[in-house]
Symmetry: C2
Subunit: 492 residues, 2 copies
């Protein structure tokens, strides 16, 4: 794979001098295009040690308008990073549309190094690369332009480069013992990197391997790649149709998981009070264990039609929790910083630390519910969201987060009754809006979307719990019991 | 001070039951008012251990629409927090307008505990309280409604409360050894807290001391305080005049610090090249020492008229730095998350970790320059900004950040020459906009604003360096030398 980058590409000093002024103008123009666009740029500068990744970044920052471009090179994770899934640190720095970030290492770094030093086996390595590929595909589809450069040096050339740097008093410090350690494993690095590149060389986020032996060639070629990528992306964006036709409303199947729920289930007040008290007592203890003794956290997601009683279920949970240990979030309109990034960003940025309980009253599932039904997301966007959401929850559960998702169901008749009740009781009026009535008119479409959602995202690690909501007592106790059972199982 | 909260206030069960429905409606209405308003709410729930701070927060969260309200209770700082000034953790959680945050401890907690345990002397304690008062004043003036409740129990009552809790199997866990440790020092806590309250009981952010012996009284009275505060604030906000007259443009004094600069200072190319190389070499080494051996960081601020050559000076610095170790920021239009918070928030949120270099091409000084001259900030807002900025920089330097501020000066004639030059050279065209010409027309006003700024914010800890920018060689070397000298002084 790297042979094409060992052919002696070079650029003479004279040619370089001739090329640069034009290239700088082009680069600034491209940056201007980017600034006005709907996409952002993430530039991954990868490659072998000594190939001049930082040198190239410095050059770029000099040629570009460096303001606002963030350069990242991660070291050991901070403790806040350690308390979230590994990709959190990358989500944190996603540039907003019109902006750019340069990554001097990335999500490839630790998989590759771990594989070189055999801390990963081949299967685990491949799994990590698959995750990377999925992550990059999602980014690309969510309008993050990924430019992935790989600077290559032959083994001989790497040795020469490191020796030259060491001989230069100004640059000696750039060569660390780690560089020499890596150099000794050049062949293994080459083999492992080849596999990483091969497995992640997708059409959405292709790798570009560049011969880095000649600095002038490396810089010109690297900059041209960036230029071309921005131009191509801008062209594609311009070609996309702006106007959308009204979405086809999905229709529910006559028999489906929601309709087959037994909404007559009930719990009388006396039993309810007894069980509520018992379950809340257990939950209080379990939440303390979660906080104090575990490396886990708990994430609860509530979805369901309006007035299904999500809020009531949630309150029965929070009553047992200490305000210091939980966060109740709801999904309002995104801020402009959120709109400027992939839709899961707002959920990644809010991920709680270990030991906490986070409750979502509506969630990322809005993508495949309201955004689908109302046509806010295009079919291809909500269509791929099922997989993206599964991947997201998979990262959470793999990290140790306990993820539970509740769908609270009521009948249309019960909803109408509750809407009317809300309009009558003064302190409940804030709960009922025009939008609720509009959504109600699309009951069938929402039901169909919910069935699709449950079918496609009901995973073993992050299961949906279907809650019969017609009787509030029943629903609240069912939810509480499910949470308590899950915590007991997971914490033991 | 606390005697008024030991008089036996209580509310009967019947009265409580009668009051609550109305109060809940009022509370939801107030939350609705808040949601639509331009201010945010920070509720500090302070007081003695056992008084039920968390209980009260839980109650409030139950009565309110808890979604989106963040409750915070800080433990030990994380390592990311430790790498920033102590108040960073509080800035991080400032709610945006329309939102609320409940703080179960706050910027009072550690000063009070440290004083009780005599880790602070009285002078240091007072200094911390002064800082708190200034911080709160700034928040209040920047539209953060602070409601500070202090829940009081007598010593006898505290003991009883802790014992009662311990006797209750469901609540036993709430009582920690720390509570009893604190109880033993009740008198000292009382004395220290009294001083804290006294010194920070300002008109912008008054304390409300509440008798917490009777839980029903505590909850009703606490909620009423919050209600009243929101209503009062909403009324004040409505009363504020919306329309602003055009600002008076400030006029420069005939003799001022900028005019008395000697703009004929020059450096020939040969000397420039020699010194540049030498200084950049030294800077490269110093930046490495900063990163690897110190607990410091470096913050450089560049201000000056358009085309004064800030960018060129900055590039001569960044050329000596490793892209991994510096961040170049510029101040563009704030995002809506930034606009929803005090203006310094955007700078606090971006504070770098220890060891890094951050360079601002324009900065928070925009508040007293462009925002003043163009009338974006009201006179009272930019007028108090000098003090707020000094306090901000004081926190930075006290934490160990090396803060340097450069004002680069050119003559109006030189500016005109450079503007024309930019319009001619293709790759410089992006640098010149209509706005530059508009600003140029207000040269005198900007000069006067800059003189005011330098006069009022030129502190010993964070000094302004005035740079003669007419000759680029001179300016670049002067800036580089100043940075190198400061680093050498501070790192030795």
């Amino acid at each position: 794979m790297f042979e094409t980058a060992e052919v002696g590409n070079e650029v003479s000093k004279a040619d370089f001098k001739k090329e640069v002024p034009k290239l700088r103008v082009d680069l600034l123009e491209a940056q201007n295009t980017l600034a006005k666009s709907d996409f952002s740029l993430m530039l991954l500068i990868g490659g072998v040690e000594g190939a001049g990744k930082t040198e190239f970044a410095n050059r770029l920052l000099e040629w570009l308008d460096a303001r606002g471009i963030e350069t990242h090179a991660w070291a050991e994770p901070t403790d806040e990073e350690r308390e979230r899934p590994p990709f959190w640190r990358f989500w944190r720095v996603l540039p907003g549309k019109g902006k750019a970030a340069f990554l001097l290492n990335s999500w490839y770094t630790s998989p590759i190094i771990n594989r070189v030093y055999k801390k990963n086996d081949e299967a685990e390595f491949d799994r990590q690369l698959d995750r990377v590929a999925a992550f990059e595909r999602m980014l690309a589809q969510e309008n993050v332009l990924l430019v992935k450069l790989w600077f290559h040096l032959s083994k001989k050339e790497q040795k020469k480069r490191l020796k030259d740097l060491e001989a230069d008093p100004d640059n000696r410090w750039r060569v660390t013992p780690r560089d020499w350690k890596f150099h000794k494993r050049y062949d293994r690095f080459r083999k492992v990197s080849e596999r990483a590149i091969m497995k992640t060389n997708t059409s959405e986020a292709p790798w570009i391997i560049l011969e880095a032996t000649d600095r002038r060639y490396r810089d010109l070629a690297g900059v041209r790649c960036i230029l071309n990528a921005i131009r191509k992306k801008a062209k594609e964006a311009a070609a996309q149709p702006k106007a959308e036709k009204t979405p086809d409303l999905p229709k529910p199947k006559p028999k489906n998981v929601l309709r087959s729920m037994d909404l007559t289930k009930k719990l009388d007040d006396k039993n309810y009070d007894k069980q509520l008290e018992k379950l809340q007592g257990r939950l209080a203890l379990l939440a303390r264990r979660l906080r104090e003794e575990s490396k886990r956290s708990l994430l609860l997601v509530f979805e369901g039609s309006d007035a299904a009683g999500k809020g009531g279920c949630i309150r029965r949970i929070t009553q047992a929790l200490d305000a210091r240990n939980y966060q109740l979030r709801s999904v309002a309109a995104p801020t402009d910083e959120e709109r400027a990034r992939p839709y899961l960003w707002r959920f990644w940025r809010g991920l709680p630390r270990i030991g906490r309980v986070t409750i979502y009253d509506r969630s990322w599932y809005g993508r495949v519910l309201v955004e689908r039904v109302e046509g806010f997301a295009k079919p291809e966007a909500w269509g791929r969201a099922f997989g993206e959401i599964n991947a997201f929850e998979d990262e959470l559960t793999e990290f140790g987060t306990i993820v539970m998702k509740f769908w609270v169901t009521i009948s249309p008749e019960e909803q109408l009754k509750r809407f009317k009740d809300r309009q009558e009781k003064a302190y409940k009026q804030y709960k009922i809006t025009e939008e609720d009535w509009r959504n109600r008119a699309k009951w069938n479409a929402y039901e169909a979307a919910a069935c699709d959602m449950i079918e496609r995202t009901n995973t073993e690690r992050a299961p949906w719990v279907l809650v019969e909501g017609e009787d509030k007592n029943w629903a609240r106790v069912k939810v509480l019991r499910a949470v308590v059972d899950a915590l007991e199982r997971e914490l033991s």
